[in-house]
Symmetry: C2
Subunit: 204 residues, 2 copies
């Protein structure tokens, strides 16, 4: 951040090094009380009109705690399915905030915008104000069904213990997404799905 950067929020959208639309699945690192960076998944909602991008934390997660206590973090855009699985399903901590696989990162300050409860879960909606960012790599994007299936598998897996979801349906989806990885994924997606299998306590 340079001295002449705009005050946060004033010119927030220009600082995102990607075109946000709908919900963009990202990895966020937040500084914990142990001075290490917690790595988690975060769905970033595109700005609505002139507003800021937002994200919602569900429950008393490390990201929620660190957003509250440190006021921000680093949102990162990675294509690596193994990093995504570990962010979504495991507790991972690093000494440095930026992952090697990040094609771009955005340092954000967060501000609580809303909160509520759904079932037994307390949620908080955060406004994300970019304060610094960098694009490390720009490439021609490609579509791989195996990569998408890894992402969907993390969603299904994270719902297995939520009572409002039907467990059998989620397990069928996990089996389907595993078959997509076998058909269309590369070695990296296969490695990612093996991490899903290791991190999820269920059989499908």
């Amino acid at each position: 951040m340079t001295d002449d950067s705009p005050p946060h929020g004033a010119d927030a959208q220009t600082a995102w090094p990607v075109a946000l639309s709908g919900v963009t699945e990202t990895v966020v690192t937040t500084l914990g009380p142990n001075e290490r960076w917690n790595v988690a998944a975060l769905g970033v909602h595109a700005p609505d009109g002139d507003g800021p991008a937002t994200a919602t934390t569900w429950g008393r997660t490390r990201t929620w705690r660190n957003f509250r206590e440190s006021g921000g973090g680093y949102v990162q855009f990675t294509r690596d399915p193994v990093d995504f699985v570990e962010a979504a399903l495991s507790v991972r901590e690093e000494d440095e905030p930026i992952l090697d696989s990040a094609d771009a990162w955005v340092e954000i300050e967060v501000e609580q915008r809303d909160s509520g409860t759904e079932g037994d879960t307390q949620w908080v909606e955060w406004a994300l104000h970019p304060v610094d960012s960098a694009a490390e790599r720009r490439v021609v994007p490609t579509t791989n069904r195996g990569h998408a299936a890894v992402v969907e598998a993390t969603v299904a897996a994270s719902r297995l213990d939520v009572p409002s979801y039907d467990r059998e349906t989620l397990l069928e989806r996990l089996a389907y997404f595993e078959s997509v990885v076998e058909t269309a994924g590369s070695e990296r997606e296969r490695a990612a799905f093996q991490r899903v299998r290791k991190l999820v306590d269920a059989e499908w």
Copy 2:
């Protein structure tokens, strides 16, 4: 293509403007007997070792016919979900081979490598030899579950009339992917899913 470009196959991999891994979902245009470019979906399999990239056509499709009769086409990498849906599920013809939404394109020559039948369907595996290419746009790639759900919906939809797939399972998947588009997609993914609804003769 310049005069000093390598003979096809000799240096084929270097001409792809993307990193191919696993199966990459692309759009291909092929010149038909009416001198118009047919737009279709094509899954490009990454080279196995030193071999060429490959793709398989299933049945007597326009792409199969035009590959046989014209010997090639243009493989394109697009992020636009509407273009992808139309390529996958409709008959679309254009006067020019390159779509506006293509972030990159590769002119290919094709060569039949293998063929066979599965059920009543004849398949042909083609080697894809790049002869020219260009990257129009390089960006930081992002992950949107809605985009992936549109792609998965085209796969499910194209299997509805294949006897070896269970129709109820496919319809449940279409309903799920539509819900993902509603949750995580942008306006463009919603428009794409409306095209799916219009092009697919089924209720879910």
